[in-house]
C-alpha cells in the first residue's frame, strides 16, 4: 500500500518533469537505435562502429515536427545535411587551416539558418558537431576514414527509420492524457485539503503541503497542453480544444483561489467551527470524487458518473455561524466562489459547451 503511494508520487514527479514521458521514450529509442546499428555493423572494425553509433545518436536529436509528413521532411533534410557536413569534415581534416576555416564558417551558418523556423531546434548544433567529430576522430589517415563511411550511412538510415516509424510521438493523445492527469491532480489536491481540514495540524509549513505543491504541477500540465494546443495538431477540432483549455485554466485558477483562501486562514490562525469544518470536508470529498470520476475521452468529449451535490447545506451552516469578522467573511466568500466556479466549469465541460 505504502509502496503504491510512493510509486504513484514518483510517477507524478516524472510526469510533471516530462509530460507524456516524451523525453524518456526518446532517450530509450535513441539507445535502442544505437544498439541496433551496432548489431548491424558488428563484424566491422571499431572505427566503423564508432562512426555508426555517433551518427545514429546525433541524428536522432533535433527532429521536432509534430505531424508525420513534416517529420519525414525533416528527417530527409537533416540526414542529407548531416551526411554532407560529415563528409566535408573528412575532406578537410588533413589541413589544420582548412579545418579551422570550415568549423568557423559552419559555426556561423548553423546559427544563421536558425531564422528559418529552427530557433529552438538542436539540429543545427548536431550538424556542426558531426562535422567537428569527422575532423577529430582518430583515424590513421583520411583514406582510412573514407573506408568507414558506410558506418555513417548505416547510422543515418537506422536513425531515420527509428524517428519516423518507431513509436512516433502522438500529441493529441498526450493532450488527452495530460487532461486526465489534471483531473487526477485536482482530485488528489482536494482530497488532501480535506485531510488538512480534519487533522487541524497547527505546526506545519503551509507551502510544503501536498495540495499547495499540486498547484505547481497543475500549471506544468497546463503549459504542456498549451504547447500542444499551439502546435495545431488537432485539425478541425482546434476550436474545441482551445475552449477546453480555457476551462482547464479556469479550474486551475479556482483551485488556486481555494488554496489561497486556506493560506489566509492559516496566516490569521482562524479557527473554523466543527460543523463548518466537517461540512467543508464533506464538500471536498464530493469534489474529489467528482474529479476522480471525470474523464476526457479520445474524441475530446468528457464523461463522468452522475454525482449530485449542492452548496445549500453549506450556506445553512454559514447562516448559523453569524460571522462578522471581515477577513473571515472574505475567506469564506472566496472559498464558496471557488467551489461554485469549479462546479460551473466542470458542468460546462460535461455538457460539451463550446463557449466558456
Amino acid at each position: 500500500m505504502v509502496a503504491n503511494v510512493y510509486y504513484s508520487q514518483f510517477r507524478n514527479k516524472i510526469w510533471s518533469l516530462d509530460p507524456g514521458y516524451l523525453r524518456l521514450k526518446h532517450a530509450a529509442k535513441t539507445v535502442l537505435a544505437i544498439l541496433f546499428v551496432l548489431w548491424l555493423v558488428q563484424d566491422e572494425p571499431l572505427f566503423t562502429k564508432t562512426m555508426a553509433g555517433l551518427a545514429c545518436g546525433f541524428s536522432m536529436q533535433g527532429i521536432d515536427a509534430k505531424s508525420f509528413l513534416s517529420r519525414l521532411r525533416q528527417v530527409i533534410a537533416f540526414n542529407l545535411t548531416y551526411f554532407s557536413v560529415f563528409s566535408l569534415g573528412l575532406l578537410v581534416r588533413d589541413s589544420a587551416n582548412l579545418t579551422t576555416l570550415v568549423l568557423i564558417l559552419l559555426g556561423f551558418l548553423v546559427n544563421y539558418i536558425r531564422r528559418f523556423e529552427l530557433e529552438n531546434s538542436i539540429a543545427p548544433m548536431m550538424a556542426w558537431l558531426l562535422c567537428f567529430c569527422a575532423t577529430i576522430l582518430p583515424y590513421g589517415s583520411t583514406l582510412q576514414a573514407w573506408q568507414h563511411l558506410h558506418g555513417l550511412v548505416a547510422g543515418l538510415v537506422v536513425s531515420a527509420i527509428a524517428v519516423a516509424f518507431i513509436f512516433p510521438e502522438n500529441y493529441p493523445r498526450l493532450f488527452v492524457r495530460n487532461t486526465n492527469q489534471l483531473f487526477h491532480l485536482l482530485a488528489a489536491g482536494i482530497k488532501d485539503m480535506r485531510v488538512f481540514l480534519i487533522k487541524r495540524k497547527s505546526d506545519f509549513n503551509f507551502d510544503r503541503q501536498a495540495f499547495v505543491q499540486n498547484k505547481i504541477n497543475l500549471y506544468h500540465l497546463l503549459d504542456s497542453n498549451q504547447t500542444i494546443e499551439q502546435s495545431f495538431v488537432f485539425n478541425d477540432q482546434q476550436l474545441l480544444i482551445s475552449v477546453v483549455m480555457i476551462h482547464q485554466y479556469a479550474l486551475a485558477g479556482a483551485y488556486g483561489m481555494m488554496v489561497e483562501a486556506y493560506r489566509v486562514l492559516k496566516i490569521h490562525d482562524f479557527q473554523l467551527s466543527r460543523p463548518l469544518r466537517l461540512m467543508l470536508a464533506k464538500i471536498n470529498r464530493q469534489y474529489a470524487t467528482l474529479f476522480s470520476a471525470i474523464q476526457m475521452n479520445p474524441d475530446y468529449t468528457f464523461s463522468s458518473s452522475e454525482i449530485q451535490f449542492s452548496l445549500q447545506k453549506f450556506s445553512e451552516i454559514l447562516a448559523q455561524e453569524k460571522i462578522t469578522e471581515p477577513t473571515m467573511i472574505m475567506v469564506l466568500l472566496n472559498l464558496k466562489l471557488s467551489l461554485t466556479l469549479i462546479n460551473q466549469h466542470v458542468r460546462a465541460l460535461l455538457r460539451g459547451e463550446n463557449v466558456p
Partner: protein, 334 residues
C-alpha cells in the same frame, strides 16, 4: 545597426570558434578541440544564459569526470560493460538535456569518459585536460557574449509588455464597449510563465550588477500574485456581473479605473518616466463592516450571488495592494 538575434548569435559563434582555435594554436594544446567544442556549445543568445550554462558545464565536467573516472577504475576491463555504461550515460544525457540541463552535463561527461575508455585511453591526465579545456572554452564563450554584440534580456520591456496585456484584458472585461468579446486569460498566464522562465537568465545576469536579487525575486512573486488576481477577477466578473446593483457597478468601475491608473503609473515607473503617485483602490474592511452593520441579513448565508460584489472588490483591493508593493520595491532600488 539592427541585427537579428540569429545573425548576432552566428557572429558570436564564429568569433568564439576563431578565438578557441587561436588559443589552441598559440598554447599548442594537445586536445585543443575541447576548447573549441565548449566555446561553440556555450555561446548562447544572452550573456546570462551563457553564464548559467558555463557554470553548469564546468562544475559538472569536474564532478562527472571524477565520478566517471572512478567508475572506470572500479569496473572490470570488459568492452561490453564499458559499452553498456556508455549507453547508460547516453540515455541520461538525451533524457535530461532539455528538462534538467545540469544533470545532463554530468551524464555527458560520463559519456566522454567511457567513449575514450572504449578506445582504451582514459586517464587522469586526460581528465585534467578535459576540465581545463572546457573551462577555457567557457571563458571564451563568456568573453564573446560579454563584449561582442551582447544581447541582454530587457527586463523592463518584459514587464511593460506584461502590464500592457493586463490592462488590455481588464479593459476587455470591464469596459462596456467590449462586452461582446470572449475573454480568455490563458495567454496572460503563459505570458507570465515566459517571464518566469526568463527569470533564471535574468538572475544570472544580475550577479554582476548592483541589483538586489532578493528584491527581484520578490518582484517576481508580487507579479505572479498580480497575474493570479487578474485571472480570478476576469473569471468571476463574467459570472457575478448580472447580480450587481447600479451602485455596486459604479464602485467596480471606480476600482477598475484606479487599477488602470496604478498600472500606467507602474509602467512609467519602470521606464523611469515622470509619473503620478499610485492610488489605493478601497479599504475593503471598512466597506464590509459598513455593509454588515447596515444589512446584516444579507451576510447571513454568505450567498455568492448576493455578495459577488465583495469578491470583485476583494481581488481589486489585493491586486492594487500588490501593485503598491511593487512600486515600493522599485522606489527602494532606485
Amino acid at each position: 545597426m539592427y541585427l537579428r538575434n540569429t545573425t548576432r548569435m552566428a557572429w558570436q559563434a564564429a568569433i568564439a570558434i576563431s578565438l578557441a582555435e587561436m588559443v589552441s594554436y598559440i598554447f599548442q594544446l594537445e586536445r585543443g578541440y575541447w576548447v573549441t567544442l565548449a566555446a561553440m556549445a556555450l555561446t548562447t543568445l544572452t550573456w546570462g544564459d551563457s553564464l548559467k550554462r558555463s557554470l553548469e558545464r564546468v562544475s559538472m565536467t569536474i564532478i562527472g569526470g571524477f565520478f566517471g573516472t572512478l567508475l572506470y577504475w572500479l569496473i572490470p576491463e570488459n568492452q561490453y560493460l564499458i559499452l553498456g555504461l556508455l549507453l547508460l550515460f547516453v540515455f541520461f544525457t538525451v533524457y535530461l538535456f532539455q528538462i534538467y540541463h545540469l544533470l545532463a552535463m554530468f551524464a555527458l561527461t560520463g559519456f566522454v569518459v567511457f567513449l575514450f575508455a572504449l578506445f582504451g585511453e582514459w586517464n587522469l591526465l586526460l581528465l585534467r585536460d578535459r576540465i581545463l579545456d572546457t573551462a577555457l572554452g567557457a571563458v571564451i564563450a563568456l568573453l564573446v557574449g560579454r563584449f561582442f554584440l551582447t544581447s541582454k534580456v530587457d527586463i523592463v520591456e518584459l514587464f511593460v509588455a506584461h502590464i500592457d496585456k493586463i490592462q488590455a484584458i481588464l479593459t476587455l472585461t470591464f469596459e462596456p464597449l467590449h462586452t461582446t468579446e470572449i475573454i480568455s486569460t490563458q495567454h496572460l498566464y503563459s505570458n507570465f510563465q515566459m517571464i518566469r522562465k526568463n527569470a533564471v537568465t535574468i538572475r544570472y545576469e544580475m550577479i554582476f550588477q548592483h541589483i538586489n536579487s532578493r528584491d527581484f525575486r520578490l518582484l517576481l512573486t508580487q507579479s505572479a500574485f498580480c497575474t493570479q488576481y487578474v485571472i480570478s477577477l476576469v473569471d468571476i466578473y463574467t459570472w457575478v456581473k448580472p447580480h450587481l446593483t447600479a451602485a455596486e457597478k459604479k464602485d467596480v468601475d471606480l476600482a477598475f479605473k484606479t487599477t488602470l491608473h496604478n498600472l500606467t503609473v507602474l509602467e512609467r515607473h519602470l521606464r523611469k518616466e515622470a509619473h503620478d503617485p499610485a492610488m489605493r483602490v478601497v479599504n475593503l474592511n471598512e466597506l464590509l463592516i459598513k455593509a454588515i452593520k447596515s444589512e446584516p441579513q444579507r451576510f447571513a448565508s454568505l450567498n455568492s450571488e448576493a455578495l459577488g460584489f465583495y469578491n470583485v472588490m476583494y481581488f481589486f483591493a489585493r491586486l492594487n495592494t500588490r501593485l503598491n508593493e511593487i512600486h515600493f520595491l522599485l522606489g527602494k532600488n532606485q
